[in-house]
Symmetry: C2
Subunit: 228 residues, 2 copies
DNA sequence: GATTTTGTATTGTTGAACAATCTATAATAG
DNA sequence: CTATTATAGATTGTTCAACAATACAAAATC
């Protein structure tokens, strides 16, 4: 269990602030998978009332990060293999649609290019966590190619769940590092308007990434069994 | 404002029940666009406490059906033209992805076929509301072709918003009626494994539907101006 | 008419209380 | 000893009252 947290900016209601903070902690692996989120305990730690925390839990449950079970309370979601398969299915549909909708000179392309450059720099510093964060930002930017707030929102939810999966794994460096060059090649193809090429590269990436995440989950499961 | 509502099944917490009930009322046009949802009033009408209602509002705001503005309260969302454009963009990406993922003999195909038959029967009875409901169910079933709970969830959210749009319109018969034959042709193409044909038909449908909805919104806006 | 001030209503949040439900522990039966 | 049942305690879900903060409406002033 983490120490008392710091709350984000105060232009939003307390319930939203608390939900955002818990969300960040969930994504950073600050809670264990399936961990019970005790209302009394967490309300006390955040210094908010239980009613306010319940509102926050409703928000988090809508995002799939918390499983709110009637009369039993709220638990940290623990996406497993089935979830990973579905997450990549969603990514395939949405990201493919975004790439196919990509128009030349779209601002998101410049953003993607910039993120690749930053990832290359982080790779040179062996800053794996940053590489991972930039990789995800890269894919978020890709979805923005189709200029759909709702698709971006949907994608963000799925991405948050995927980060929850990463939070369950010990070592995620190998999950992001090999894809920096691939991302660069992908953005080059998009800039050149070679959509079919970009789609093919994206599908290659998604397949490799999915397999790597599933393998890591499997290894993690094996280790958990050994410990038990 | 509607009369005191009946609550749905009791296997869920009260907050969820209230949220579901309000959601149904929103979709059925039981509230006006941008109408203020007074906590005190609605809590009293539902016979629940204000805290419980706030939880429900958090759920509804996550679904995009209610806009929760800090210190001002909750308002009925009123999707306009920009939202409609985005909704159809989402539909294009998701439904296209679903159709391209369609495998022969998928259970959703049988469901789509059944829904078309029901829509034809309802059409014969000039039951426009039922035709509309079945049309939406048809498209929901289409998304199930790709077996992704998360895509289905995302699509449901978007569909709920679209129904909110319909709830703003006076006469929606012409928004659904012309597409029964198109849906039938589409499911036939899918059953025959003619995916490219199905994709083309889907794009035709989406384009026509989007134009029809936008036109209806425009006409509605014109009438509102006349009344004001 | 436009701006400022005042009063009222509502929201956001808190905390106490209690019924209902679940979980953990103890007691009992086989 | 194991399995089942009963009991106690903890927690959740909900209600209610209260109050500070904010927004909105009405009144007063320029």
């Amino acid at each position: 269990m983490p120490v008392t947290p710091v709350l984000p900016a105060e232009d939003q209601s307390l319930a939203i602030q608390v939900a955002d903070r818990i969300r960040d902690m969930l994504i950073d692996g600050g809670f264990s998978p399936r961990e019970k989120l005790s209302e009394q305990q967490i309300a006390s730690q955040f210094g908010v009332s239980r009613n306010t925390l319940r509102e926050a839990f409703r928000l988090l449950s809508s995002q799939g990060l918390v499983e709110h079970i009637p009369n039993r309370g709220a638990f940290v979601a623990a996406p497993g293999e089935a979830a990973v398969l579905d997450i990549y299915r969603v990514r395939q549909v949405i990201q493919r649609g975004a790439v196919m909708a990509a128009g030349p000179g779209h601002p998101a392309l410049a953003r993607m290019r910039e993120l690749v450059a930053q990832a290359e720099a982080a790779l040179g510093l062996s800053d794996w966590q940053k590489v991972g964060t930039l990789n995800m930002e890269f894919h978020r930017a890709m979805v923005e190619l189709c200029d759909s707030p709702r698709l971006s929102t949907c994608f963000d939810l799925v991405l948050a769940e995927l980060r929850l999966v990463f939070g369950q794994l010990d070592d995620t460096a190998h999950l992001h590092e090999p894809y920096v060059a691939l991302n660069k090649s992908l953005v080059i193809a998009l800039e050149a308007g070679r959509i079919a090429d970009a789609v093919a590269q994206l599908e290659t990436y998604l397949l490799k990434s999915e397999r790597a995440v599933l393998a890591a989950l499997q290894r993690q499961k094996g280790q958990v069994r050994k410990l038990a």
